[in-house]
Symmetry: D2
Subunit: 460 residues, 4 copies
């Protein structure tokens, strides 16, 4: 990397790219980038052009001489890359619309990272990411893969387990959000607190201590119940039961609302689903994205616009840039990442991916051993991790029985005929991106299964 | 035991007692009983008289000279006992009515061994059984405790964990039912097959091999889908998804329907709940019991009446008698029991109670090591066992936060305000039997929480 | 097996074969054998003829019509076998002489199942047994492999781990000896006691209970210290320290003397080694064997001669016959066997082979879950099992570094130059049977390494 | 700590104290010390005076105004302490002489941290440290305990396990030495490498990567074999077998020589033992200490003299000062410490103390999850950790059977009568410091057991 760093971003046409650029520009002194390659597919060509041109404008407005390359040829881009970031979305936002609306049309949680939607996002994404890994083995065997494609935990686990590629770190913005929001609740700054996270992606808990070594988790919890703290923008504002959280003396992540306040989260989503003025999150995001790309086309815009932060995944790119800079400059920054367990969460097998507090440096993530969780959290974590393993195996093998198992043991999906129907409709709806399930899908089509939700059906 | 065996049955006034007597009479040659003590509480005095007199008639009609003692004084009965069986029901069937109707009044599974009902049965039962264990330490320290009070897994686990009493075996009739029904499906008798069970009470799976060592589980599964096999009388006839079961190549237990076919089980229960002609299972059983006790009053009845088998828990007593005889005569019979894991199910801690295939002999249960379960089953088993541990701790400590945690992580209970409401109503409804939660109950009452379901409310 | 059972014995020319025949004749009613194939190699042809002819005489003297086939063609024999027993010794007793004398010539324990000798026996045996397994996959895929070739634990583990063959049971006579000797110490018969064994081959402990469920291990230990009980014939009579054994409240196996009384065992072996009138155990056994084969040539001898019991491995064959009969007749006999752990010894990985109490029936061994061992035993068991895994991998790969690791971590071998010298001499001495180490052996020879012990050197 | 830090050093009369002072002076800017209390016992009063006066001189020569208090009253010193360091030696160097000479007089490794000596150092130290912890609970409940009294692993483990005190970190200079010596071997500085240590005190391994993420462990190993690198001053220069180390691809710690080159280490120690001009390490150190204390009496000496580095434990105090500064200033420095496992070494129970790479900050040690070790290292680590647990339990209970078990399973002690004799002599020799074993010692004395080694006997 003596001549400067080469960054490749798969899914470079994403609306997040300007945030990524901003993050790199901010860190140029410790991460001297030479060139950035934004890669996308034919379907995303137009967006790639728009956002890519905007990205180049951002660099041109900076004091640094960095060239942003745009390409549809992944292999050309990967050649000799130092860092590869993945932020692609197989099937674009329309796939997300289906992930959300099809379950909701049957009264089941429709969301792209948990429940049926998360399972299908894994089914679509894992085969693609394994292909990228194969290219990397050939074209840039020393590069780091920084994944923030969701479901980040399963994708990272599959990269290690099935891709046999260890130089990978999975990222999520949820822990960042918690660490940004909580300290001020108790009148502290982040550097006056020590955070310890453990769990898996979108299913972790954390404890906080102050610099005297005192556990202040309980104090933060108390304050949370008089504020909106720690809630990701894309999760409806529903508090945990205070009796539960006080007893566990750990702070759950925002996505735990799906598990701890299932009823209210579902009702909220159904309300939006049923209101044609609002629509599901994907529908809202499509609108935001359209606005963003309009903005990006402004030839005078050479900085990240305010509106991007409404997009939801704020801080994702920042976490990614910080991770890359920490690896490059061996900074040993505390970042919460998806990485191989190695015992950090002793309640899960040492060879599975967990999301934990880690110090990030030249050798990647060094996860901090957290110790055993209390029974209530341990049990749920174990069922969720095993559910992930079943999903990954189904994604790789295309086995329908496994896919059904994953639906049945997912605690967000009430098992039964309706769940099976949702599974079947999602298979049909995502047919184009699920070659591994082709045989079963053909069988379902032959049996006349069709997508009930009209909006989703039109997108098939 | 040289002068003959002394058996003590706590909850002796139960309608099951005649089955127990029949089981003992049948096995007298290998289990030479000297005296039987049926113990009950003041509220059950009348039933104790009726069924006790009937029990004595059964022995008098047999060739054996055995005295059946009836008493309300538990300590008198326990003195020098060889075997103590527990089949009591705290709060009688009315408690079960509440366990079923209160959740169902909010659209949540209402059933006494899984979901909210099972949790509350544990809350009521565990403190009582720990008191029995204390008496046993003093009055019959060498006796075996054979528990078939539900939830048998949690009760047995609590006896070992909190009671520090190891000479205990927990029993359930579900495995017996499977082993009675399945062999004929493939044209075999039970002694031509080798069964291996693993899991926890009401949440286990089994594999079957023939005498050539071939796995015939798949063959049985195939046959099941053309028959009603293996379904306990008190579970509505809803088949598992064949794709799921074939993939796992293990046979789930009947109670897995609550987990694998949640939607249909719930709907079925709601139908019965909403139909005043049918009512929930407890209401049906109350009717059956009334009929049984009428029969038992017939001074000419000196054998177990046919109608008892309708009662649901058939084979429970038979399993208990066989277990006692196997211990007494060191028979090494294969029986599926709740016992300390010791590694038999390596996916669970070695010191927790599991329900597994075991050989029963003079030293109690010798569990057979089953090996690790596949991910889908492993994960669910882990969440269920940890849920049990949370319930047990809540039962012993009366901690409301833990009780809430148990509700939230139980996969049969959709978390949220409704679940919390059900928890609160159940606390109030069972107030008399939950002294450990007295403070919280007082707080709920002060806040005006009342039981919504009319039938349940009248029983409070 | 409807037409009667076909048994194949690899290493059929062994002096133990008559014991095996006696065992089969005794059990003919439950194990109706049709034909027995004794297989050996060219070097053992003469012994095979002698013992095979004698074996046929034994059957001819019995009421049963069984044909004993003798062959050097292993594949011919294996065709359609029902049970394959392995009792071969690669390199015959001369290899054992080298296993014993080379270490002892440097003051290191020389013995064929523990220490350097055991490691080299594994190196010689594992590749051969894996070849047998390959033949079985092709020629008798439904057969059971009953191994009593030492080191039985490592060989059985390698069959499962590297051979991917699960229908295998490893046997050892040591537990049989304990169960035969101990009961009378406390005035009981074996069927009045319940034995629980756990550990690995030649490194296990057991506890004993009576039929009232009382632990009588301590009582047996007390009695042992006024007698010679439980000591295999081929281990010098050195008692364990009573303070140690009382504290552990388990009975170690005879081979534990090498670990618990290292100094005395070594001194005893050195005495025999240095006395040309006695010689090491292998030299003694060679003498016994010569006498036995002389006896076997007597055309009138048609029963197992008394002298065979002096041979040391008494009861091995009996255990094998009982195991085979238990599988065939689904007897569920309690036998201590080497089998896949599956959690029975939770201190070791579930997929490794352990030696434990098991019930043997139609589906093979059903190991009884023993629970965790106390720290002192747990630690040693873990180092020994891991040492076995290193040996197996070295046996399969021929990696010298691993072989050296195995020597260094084996608690019976004082690490250092002398140990390395012993390793090197043993490699050279067994050159003919260690093709996997050919490269390293050539290097050692080129460096002028030779065998110091004269007797061993002459056998190279 | 607003008014400055209060440090208490138990065993303050040690010759190491000047190094500690130097370390504190060097770090004053980040660790603003207010007062230092050096505590010792009556027997060490004179040394305390000498070294304490010298310590004050060192501070007086510095720009900082720090008062060094000297006291024999531990409780007075502990009051409101911020950090307590423990560097005491029960029985002073004479105890070490006995730990070394008594085993060596029987040809067994005599050394104070491994083998019989380490076991007895634990027996003497653990009860005392548990007393200190009790005082701390009362007098300075928020203080950190930084232990560098050996055997540091067992002592730290006992503080957590039996003392129920979690704010403790155990330190050792061995990892420091490795990290100081190795980098230059491959032409790097320490900050160009990333170290990962795992194991237990005096029994750990490490891997090294460069800033490109490449594993350079093998490269360091290669270089080591052309140099003396990485060998603590107090361990004779005996290299590991290169074939072994290359295969494991980890670098053992210096103390592994006792396990991997037992023969040579023992021979070296016997040579010194048998040479009256040299004597064992303790005898040499006594000489060095005498010289040091003579130097310390020089009223002009106000800096750490060169000669102290000959003392052996160099860097211990430096590691301690850096640890304290890292906690105080939340520096997140990478330090290798003994701390609660929490899963960092998944091959050992999560609640035991391990020695691993950790980041040290305001909340103490955050251990880095290392992942499973290869079988050869895993097994030995497990036996050693379990041996430690046995020693700790024996130290707390005074159980002779456990002490004997610890001797027998310690891989450095050849089991047998000689080992037992060494155990018995050591008990007698350390009688004054082993009240927990009083009964057994009386019994041994009554039986006439005496210490054979003359020099040791005179010190009793």
């Amino acid at each position: 990397m003596t001549k400067g760093v080469k960054i490749v971003t798969i899914g470079g046409g994403s609306s997040y790219t300007p945030e990524l650029m901003e993050g790199f520009i901010k860190r140029y002194d410790e991460l001297p980038i030479r060139e950035i390659w934004l890669v996308d597919i034919e379907d995303g060509k137009e967006k790639l052009e728009t956002v890519g041109t905007m990205a180049q404008r951002m660099w041109d407005a900076s004091p640094y001489d960095v060239k942003v390359h745009l390409t549809l040829d992944r292999r050309e881009a990967l050649k000799d890359a130092d860092f590869v970031t993945t932020q692609f979305r197989v099937g674009l936002l329309n796939a997300r619309v289906k992930d959300e609306r099809i379950p909701l049309s049957y009264g089941i949680i429709g969301q792209e990272t948990n429940g049926p939607g998360g399972i299908f996002k894994a089914f679509r994404t894992i085969p693609i990411i394994l292909g990228i890994v194969e290219d990397m083995k050939e074209l840039c065997p020393d590069a780091w893969l920084i994944n923030f494609t969701n479901p980040a935990g399963m994708v990272t686990d599959a990269i290690i387990r099935y891709g046999k590629w260890d130089k990978v770190i999975g990222l999520c913005n949820v822990p960042v959000g918690a660490m940004m929001a909580e300290p001020e609740l108790i009148g502290k700054s982040l550097d006056e607190l020590v955070y310890s996270f453990a769990g898996i992606n979108h299913f972790h808990w954390h404890r906080v201590k102050d610099l005297q070594g005192n556990d202040v988790t309980g104090e933060i919890i108390e304050k949370m119940y008089s504020s909106d703290a720690g809630i990701p923008a894309n999760i409806h504002d529903i508090p945990f039961f205070i009796d539960q959280v006080k007893k566990m003396n750990m702070i759950p992540c925002g996505y735990h609302r799906y598990y701890y306040r299932y009823e209210e989260m579902l009702n909220h989503m159904l309300e939006e689903y049923n209101d044609p003025e609002i629509g599901t999150r994907a529908q809202q995001v499509k609108q935001t994205e359209a606005e963003l790309f309009e903005l990006y086309q402004d030839p005078n815009l050479d900085y990240k616009p305010e509106q991007l932060s409404k997009r939801g995944g704020a801080h994702y790119s920042d976490a990614a840039c910080e991770t890359i800079a920490s690896i490059y400059a061996n900074k040993n920054t505390h970042i919460v990442v998806s990485t191989k367990n190695n015992g950090a969460v002793p309640d899960l097998p040492a060879d599975t991916v967990v999301e934990v507090s880690a110090y990030i440096g030249a050798t990647g993530a060094r996860p901090i051993a957290f110790g055993s969780l209390p029974p209530a959290e341990r049990g749920w974590l174990q069922v969720m991790k095993n559910m992930e393993l079943v999903v990954e195996e189904a994604a790789v093998t295309g086995d329908y029985g496994l896919a059904l198992q994953a639906f049945i043991i997912n605690p967000l999906i009430p098992s039964g005929e309706t769940a099976k129907r949702v599974l079947d409709e999602l298979l049909i709806a995502h047919k184009k991106y699920l070659p591994q399930f082709a045989e079963k899908i053909a069988e379902l089509e032959a049996a006349g299964v069709t997508v009930k939700d009209e909006i989703a059906r039109e997108l098939v």
